[in-house]
Amino acid sequence: MRAAAEKGHTSAASLPGIPRASKLITSAVAAKSEATTSSPSTKPGHEVLLFEALQEGLEEEMEKDPRVCVMGEDVGHYGGSYKVTKGLAEKFGDLRVLDTPIAENSFTGMAIGAAMTGLRPIVEGMNMGFLLLAYNQISNNCGMLHYTSGGQFTIPIVIRGPGGVGRQLGAEHSQRLESYFQSVPGLQMVACSTPYNAKGLMKAAIRSENPVILYEHVLLYNLKERIPDEDYTCCLEKAELVRPGKDVTILTYSRMRHHVLQAAKTLINNGYDPEIIDIISLKPFDLYTIGNSIKKTHRVLIVEECMRTGGIGASLRSSIIDNFWDYLDAPIMCLSSQDVPTPYAGPLEDATVVQPPQIVKAVEQLCQ
């Protein structure tokens, strides 16, 4: 048990979504000072909910580049089932914000075909799980065309949508597709978790020449945060250091970041000093940030929402073992969801995903 004095910094309120101002910057992560909205030299910023941040990012990019267009079910006149595309059809017209029929395979294929000629479409899956119908297009055409055409075509497409376990939505609407798509060569995957990184990642993904899958989470759309007024993007391959620490490196992403932060409150009160990293980039992993952290703490806990089998945690674990074996003092622990279809009943659903008490217990176990 480390003494409280050793911690070196006090923990401010760790409400999910509020960035920890000056604590964020260390040498492990390239300077990202625009994140510190409390710094007096930057503009005041404005408060948004996560879905509004996504919408702002999307709107700004559509204004900048006429080739950017959106396709999906109910994105146009309805404004998007999670309001991410609200108001865009009125502003940009029906062709740029296209309401598609319910044909995921085909409209994803259509978006890829349009991308082959230079357009920059954003495909919205109303729920990420529906994109399984488009798996062939995403894997074979989206991921592979740049390679099989010898570089003739780029596919600057963004595929996004809400995934993850929600509030009793049932098994088919609670899927985590990051584990299914992670092996597809040629794709990049990022997961947003706060309004700040949601807007930044959305803009970076749209500007990227590679196909990017942006994973959002159904339960995070109403997170509130103050974000900068000025134009900014987040790097698609950099992890976010949420809280520096010394005892253990906790790697997480998306909704689990907030569970980890909640668990961190308890851990800090009990005298632990966890370093929390939101990995952001699910493919490729930001091994630089992660490695530097492991060098410091020597213990790793991965907290993820996808299934145990073949999940992001499984890949991350083997990457860490391959690269940083010598720095580890303990086996890597990985907390993932149970390998079951998500049940409807509330308590059962809660039991399929990782909860803060489990995270606390895992850290205590690791740090023995």
């Binding site: 029929p101 259509m110 890829i112 075909g113 082959m116 099989t148 020449e209 490729p284 720095y327």
Partner: protein, 399 residues
Amino acid sequence: MAPQISTLRRALFMPAIASRFMAPSALSRSFSRSADEDCSTFTVDIAVQFKGHNVEPPAQVVETSAKELMKFFKDMSRMRRMEIASDQLYKSKLIRGFCHLYDGQEAVCIGMEAALTKEDNIITGYRDHCTYLGRGGTLPEVFSELMGRRNGCTLGKGGSMHFYKKENGFYGGHGIVGAQVPLGVGLAFAQKYEKVKGVTFALYGDGAANQGQIFESLNMAALWDLPAVYVCENNHYGMGTAEWRSAKCPEYYKRGDYVPGLKVDGMDTLAVKQAVGFAKEHALSKGPIILEMDTYRYHGHSMSDPGSTYRTREEISGVRQERDPIERIRKLILLKEIASAADLKSIEKEVKNEVEDAVAKAKESAPPDPSDLYSNAYVKGYGTQAFGCDRKHSTVVLP
């Protein structure tokens, strides 16, 4: 069962009988004027009736010239030679994997090229060697790619099923049956979005015609008036399964229902040219249309398929005798006295030498560099690099 087989046979040979009655017109040409330069036009009757679904078919006559006919002959002979050479290369194990040959179907891609420009896009499935050539590809590029060499059209990394030529509007070359059609609708969407006055021709086979994504994408194309033309290259066999065994309604031009369709004799280059020109106009003014090309492939589905277990040798040789597209053009050229039989023979010889030269060149060219394994997996830019923990050792470098 038996009645259906004979119906199919009848369908295959019917057009052949009609073709004997091609009406001659115009004056005969003298041999002194070079046939390759003679652009003066004359009309030719199209033997087999177009069949329309919810659309008035185009006229049964098409305008052509001596120059065009000679070009057809040369280009189709080149394609035929190329496919035969590929057959031999595959058997000598220089081409590996899957090799789907197009011989017999040349009239479709040649007829299309005659009616289209580079502003129009073509996208097709895996039987793409000749379509690639028609879109401006060269023989060395084809053979190098088939043999997996570095100067192949996709750097040796695509193979037989992945030929592309973006600058000429050829979008491939796709391995999964039917998946290219939604891509084609996307190309048409982009043409409408960017206000380009071109049309996208999405080709698929009779096997792919039963894919859901064909109908899904057709619905979208029709809904938004996209300049897309669906071309069903009906060679009557989906690998080993005849059309009557896989489709309840083998009249593929009618299956668009609300989308008009046209059935075309796909072994008649001039009929294809007429139909494609008609379809392009339709797509630009009224919306999508389906063309069904009644065609035939002499080889099996691919080189691993002998092609004779599900159809008889008499059928194959019968179609070759009665409906071969190159023979048709040859007969027309001789009938119109555009060139002599000896002239045509020498063109065939010239083309054979072209192909042999290209094969020889390709055999000598180098395989891809080992570092090419990683090139073009991602596009460089916006920070696509990941480092090891000390920034010196990188386990993943994305070029």
